[in-house]
Amino acid sequence: MNAVEFQGVGKRFDEWVFRDVDLALPNERTTALVGPSGCGKTTLLQLVNAVQRPDQGVVEVFGEPVPETGLVPFRRRFGYAVQGAGLFPHMTIADNVGLVARLEGWSPDAIRARRRELLDIVGLSEALDGRYPHQLSGGQQQRVGLCRALMLKPRMLLLDEPFAGVDPITRADLYPEFEQLRDHEEVTTLLVTHDVAEAQRLADHLVVMGGGGVVQAGPIDEVIAAPRNAFVRDLLASAL
């Protein structure tokens, strides 16, 4: 079974962003989604956790179509992290990470244990729990963002350029930490990125978007070895 299946999916705002997208994201793998700016990567990502609704076709997640109602519990089945981390500035690190678990009714002890489990993996000591986001470095904030996304043990992680805007040295530290988190949690991941090297480093599968749809998708080595057309070849070349 695939983690996510798109069947003839289209989305329009003022005009169609993309249409007739057929796509399968393999379970327990990391899929990278690349494409030029504005081609609809963020939109496609948000169709998975029902933050956006398709105007055409069906999106299935773990064998079931995205529901019409009960969206709040549905969305909590996904982890979500974005560029710049998007931490709530008025909450401490502990509160940022623990918020949804608290709303789910977890006990304080359970929340604390889970929080420490995750933050320990990325090397953030307990001393930072009481700090506010602005008192952390950009790389530390992004680590917290990833841990927050994983708090409820989601089966799937949706990442929208989480490593963009982090300096290259820090990024080199973040990659292995992210891999440890992902492997520890055994979580299926969809990673939007504009960095093909990053995709190669972290992902098994690659989806190339452009021109109002998906141009090519498959195991990342195959796509890189055999670009379907000049668009894909140029995109991969420009980013490498």
């Binding site: 948000q46 956790n49 933050v51 969206l71 709040v72 519990p73 549905f74 969305r75 909590r76 996904f78 979500y80 974005v82 710049g84 998007g86 709530f88 500035p89 008025h90 909450m91 401490t92 918020l99 949804v100 709303l103 700090r131 506010y132 986001p133 602005h134 008192q135 949706l158």
Partner: protein, 496 residues
């Protein structure tokens, strides 16, 4: 529709002993009106009636409307004002015609008190004596005199233009601010001016009032207006004053008040001297000491502000939260609140009287309306200004709308909301001084009285505590803001 007073408010503004239904005596906010209000009130008290004073209301319309809706039982008006300003009557306005004109409003006009407070021409005594001037006709050939009249008098048909048409003046006086005219005469800068025939300054400075020998100036006879439904015994008592007050007597009383005498004391002397009413001795007037008066005014002032501010905060914040996501609604609401703000406060108060009567309620309603804008605008601006990434994250995390508000939107907007409430509070404290114009009391009371008496001490008795209250409010809100500042901003302040 006459009263929209919520019970809670009613409980506060009606004193505990009000079961006896006191007679509400009102006056306008100038010396003579205060004195006449006191005369009526004290006479009623000497006859055993309970009286509630609403003296110093902000103008003719407010007094008359309050009487018409039954919030006031009696006040003293002028026949000319009834004919011109209230009823806009054409032709000759006999007493009978005026009585008929007010009757449909449930108002009865009692017999005139005696004096006529109309326009007059007054001259410096030395000038009048040396040229032997006694009447307005005598003045016509003396174009060389330095006569200065108020700008209004220079323009009005019942002022200089009409006077010229009747008496045939071939010269025109210069214009002067009325407030400065008496001082100018005393300084010898001008020789004469227009006046109201009962101005206290006339007798204080010994000015000569020229007789209106051709009967040009309209009559402004003082007449008590009472609610037709008022207890007939009370009407009979008020009618006792009829015909007892001459121009000179009224002028002397005004002069006494001008000289610093308390209006209630001036009125008490008059009632006693004339032997009006059968009760025992003059009432001990103004028994409240300075401090208890100050405390009472301040408490009432705070009450007005609090009653307006608390609901305004609730309404504005809830409204802002409810509509900020719909851009055109949010803009429209802020625009509307801004429009309310542009209505001058005295006009808003006057507009409210037919709906709410006078007193605390319209004052609170007006303050409430004025407080909406700063709070609503700050709330909406802060909420719409929240980083869209945070809104996206909150949505994707699976926060319900209420949770979004509680955990993300409201805490982030809180500093701005509190700043809006703070602005509204300070504005309210200033604006609440105007509540005295509609009998709501507060620190505006001594200010309004002081303005009419030209008594700086009395003005300061209201203005200084009002300014202190505003400062205190600023300090209080600073403390509240510090308490409510989200942790990250506090941490930011301490680490920077």
């Amino acid at each position: 529709m006459k009263r929209l007073i919520p019970l809670a408010l009613l409980a506060v503004c009606v004193p505990a002993f009000a079961a006896a239904q006191p007679i509400v005596v009102a006056s306008k906010n100038f010396n003579e009106s205060y004195i006449l209000g006191e005369v009526v009130a004290q006479l009623l008290e000497r006859e055993g009636f309970a009286v509630d004073r609403k003296l110093g209301l902000g103008g003719t319309k407010i007094c008359y409307d309050a009487l018409a809706v039954g919030d006031v039982d009696v006040y003293v008006e002028y026949t000319g004002t009834i004919a011109e300003a209230i009823k806009d009557l054409d032709g000759e306005s006999t007493l009978a015609r005026l009585a008929d004109a007010v009757a449909p409003d449930g108002i009865e006009m009692l017999p005139p008190l005696g004096f006529n407070n109309t326009y007059a021409i007054a001259l410096a005594p030395a000038v009048a004596a040396s040229r032997n001037l006694r009447t307005i006709s005598d003045l016509v050939p003396h174009g060389d005199l330095r006569v200065a009249v108020s700008h209004e008098f220079l323009e009005r048909n019942d002022g200089w233009p009409g006077l010229t048409a009747i008496y045939g003046f071939d010269w025109t006086p210069t214009g002067i601010e009325h407030a400065l005219a008496y001082q100018a005469i005393a300084d010898g800068a001008i020789d004469g001016t227009d006046a109201y025939s009962t101005d206290g300054e006339l007798s204080r400075d010994g000015l000569v009032v020229l007789a209106d020998d051709r009967g040009f100036f309209p009559a402004y006879l003082a007449v008590p207006l009472v609610r037709a439904a008022l207890d007939p015994r009370a009407k009979a008592v008020i009618a006792l004053i009829g015909g007892t007050l001459t121009d000179a007597e009224m002028r002397d009383m005004n002069a006494a008040a001008l000289g610093g005498a308390d209006t209630a004391t001036v009125a008490a002397d008059y009632v006693a001297r004339k032997g009006l009413g059968g009760g025992a001795g003059p009432r001990r007037v103004d028994a409240d000491g300075f401090w208890s008066r100050l405390a009472g005014n301040t408490a009432r002032h705070l009450q007005l502000v609090a009653y307006a501010l608390v609901p305004a905060t609730l309404v504005a914040v809830l409204l802002g939260v409810a509509i900020f996501k719909v851009a055109w609604l949010a803009r429209g609401a802020v625009y509307l609140a801004g429009l309310l703000q542009t209505i001058p406060s005295i006009a808003l108060l006057a507009l409210l009287i037919p709906l709410t009567g006078i007193g605390v309620l319209p004052a609170v309603v007006a303050l409430f309306l004025y407080a909406l804008l700063p709070i609503l605008r700050n709330t909406v601006t802060a909420l719409t200004g929240i980083d869209p990434t945070l809104r996206r994250v909150a949505l994707a995390m699976g926060l319900k709308p209420a949770q979004e508000l509680r955990y993300v939107f409201v805490p982030l907007a809180m500093p701005s909301i509190v700043a809006g409430v703070r602005t509204a509070a300070v504005i309210s404290i200033g604006t609440a001084t105007l509540a005295a114009f509609i009998g709501a009391g507060g620190l505006g009371d001594p200010i309004v009285k002081g303005l009419s008496l030209n008594d700086t001490t009395l003005i300061l008795e209201g203005a200084v505590p009002a300014a202190l209250l505003a400062i205190l409010t600023e300090l209080t809100f600073e403390a509240i803001e510090r308490l409510l500042t989200p942790g990250h901003l506090r941490a930011a302040a301490s680490t920077s």
